[in-house]
């Protein structure tokens, strides 16, 4: 038995590949989600997956991923639109829409007592991923990287001050909507493998840990990606040997990193 014995099985190989794609993606994406205080937004998006599936079921679709993505994108754009218009605070608006959509999804899926069929999506199962699904992850990963290289500066500018960004002819609402759609897309393509309950933790924790110790954008991204990949790979290996679900193991490791960096940051940065 070598140290890579856990890679003997095909499903472990695929899961390992998937983790190597999902975690850096989440690490990068998380940085701006945390900077823009959108943690609650991405959480609501994750929950909206249920509604997306429900809509797919109602229309009798074979593959509910499509209805999930379409619904999540529509949901993200709607949330963005409404939070910029409505005077009450954003978290209230998001909460209202999120609970409304979860209730709708649960109601439809539980019709006829069939909900247990869908409960796997709550926890997710990265070990069941197939090569073609890995390809779709690669696709989303490339889009994100491209957006980051071209648009991150503008997104950061918009986050710092909208009026100032607009005075520099940055298309504010386009950038904001694009980012929301991208978040929706990423959450939806990975939700089956990560699970509704913990997907947000994976988006937020690495970036939040990185924030504890980083001083500029380069460090912020670097640490976020490193923490994310580390907890992903470690979580996969540990879960294999301890025989527990992979997603929660990853989140536990990411949380430990968060608390460690928090203490370290308090000691050296304040």
């Amino acid at each position: 038995m070598g140290i890579f014995s856990w890679l003997e099985y095909d499903f472990m190989k695929y899961a390992f590949l998937a983790v190597l794609i999902i975690t850096p993606l989440f690490g990068i994406m998380g940085t701006m989600i945390v900077n823009r205080k959108m943690a609650f937004f991405s959480d609501a998006l994750g929950h909206s997956a249920l509604t997306g599936i429900a809509i797919g079921v109602v229309f009798g679709m074979e593959d509910t991923s499509l209805s999930m993505c379409v619904f999540a994108i529509a949901f993200a754009l709607l949330l963005n639109q409404i939070s910029s218009k409505v005077a009450s605070s954003t978290d209230t608006v998001i909460s209202v829409f999120s609970s409304c959509s979860i209730a709708l999804g649960l109601a439809i899926l539980s019709k006829g007592g069939n909900f247990s069929k869908y409960s796997s999506i709550l926890v997710g199962d990265i070990l069941s991923i197939t090569p073609s699904e890995i390809l779709s992850l690669v696709f989303v990963f490339c889009i994100t990287l491209l957006f980051w290289v071209i648009g991150l500066n503008k997104l950061l500018a918009v986050s710092l001050n909208q009026t100032l960004a607009r005075s520099r002819h940055i298309p504010v609402s386009f950038i904001e909507n694009f980012f929301a759609v991208l978040t929706a897309l990423i959450v939806m393509v990975s939700i089956k493998w990560v699970g509704i309950l913990i997907i947000n933790a994976l988006l937020i924790l690495p970036a939040a840990s990185s924030r504890n110790i980083a001083c500029n954008m380069r460090e912020y991204h670097f640490f976020s990606v490193v923490f994310s990949v580390f907890s992903g790979v470690m979580g996969l290996i540990v879960s294999y040997y301890v025989n527990v679900a992979t997603g929660p193991t990853i989140v536990i490791i990411a949380s430990i990193i968060y608390f460690t960096t928090y203490l370290w940051g308090r000691k050296y940065n304040l």
Binding site: T31, N35, W148, V149, I150, L152, N153, K154, L156, A157, S159, L160, N161, Q162, T163, L164, A165, R166, S167, R168, S210, R211, N212, A214, C215, N216, M217, R218, E219, Y220, H221, G265, N269
Partner: protein, 256 residues
């Protein structure tokens, strides 16, 4: 902001019949201003008079009626107006890992700030920071700057690509007396040495008196405008500031 040009006094910015309606409410109506380059124009008025809205309308951040022309008086040619803007505040919380370089490069450079520091962008940013003696702040986190430091960074950002018009929105909050002196002196030097006009929303009538070339008393529309002496001695000014309501704190008891 490379060349230091003496203000020529030949450009001017004309704001014609500008009006802003938000919802049902008319915030501003029929504002006509004539702004000369190399002049410091102070906008004063009670709270809620529409001062900030005026700035946002000029920036194009809120829809408005009327128009803004930029004229080169020598040949009457209409050019594109470049506006520099110094915001009141930024959305940065404690611990936000955004350095001064990151912030300025985000607005000024295409080089993605998360990958590497562009040497060219860095040189440009430093050059502009140095104008305001803020070069040493380059690698500091934006959230850790003091009010005065942030002010100087925002100013250097606003003048980086040689604007014709500089808009400052209540820039003096959260700065102590020394900082205020320094701020007004900096603005004064800017408009003396560079080819730009300044529109400044101010709450501090003493500084307005000392530094402004042109004062605009605003209350939904331009109530009175002209030289400091003309505006400060007018009946409208007394009504706006001596009635008690809306009297700026710094002017209390000092009158004019």
């Amino acid at each position: 902001m490379r060349k230091i040009i003496r203000p020529c006094g030949l450009h001017c910015i004309k704001i014609n019949h500008l009006g802003v309606v938000i919802g049902e409410q008319e915030i501003l109506k029929d504002i006509s201003l004539h702004i000369h380059c190399g002049s410091l124009n102070a906008v004063i008025g009670r709270n809620g008079a529409g001062k900030s809205t005026l700035i946002r309308a000029i920036l194009g951040d809120v829809p408005h009626t009327g128009n803004i022309e930029f004229k080169d008086r020598e040949d009457g040619q209409v050019q594109k107006l470049r506006i520099g803007y110094v915001p009141q505040s930024l959305n940065v919380e404690k611990q936000t890992p955004v350095s001064v370089y990151d912030m300025m490069a985000a607005y000024q450079s295409r080089c993605p700030v998360f990958l590497w520091k562009s040497r060219r962008a860095k040189a440009r940013i430093l050059e502009s920071l140095d104008v305001f003696e803020a070069g040493y702040l380059l690698d500091k986190q934006v959230c850790n700057l003091s009010g005065g430091e942030l002010q100087r960074v925002l100013l250097s950002m606003a003048v980086m690509d040689a604007p014709n018009l500089l808009l400052l929105d209540e820039p003096v909050s959260g700065i102590d007396q020394n900082g205020m002196d320094l701020f007004y002196r900096t603005i004064y030097q800017l408009k003396e040495n560079y080819d730009l006009a300044v529109i400044l929303i101010s709450h501090d009538l003493d500084y307005v008196k000392q530094y402004a070339d042109h004062v605009i008393l605003l209350d939904q529309t331009v109530v009175k405008q002209g030289s400091v002496r003309k505006v400060f001695q007018s009946q409208e000014f007394l009504e706006a500031f001596q009635g008690g309501a809306g009297l700026p704190e710094n002017a209390k008891g000092q009158g004019s």
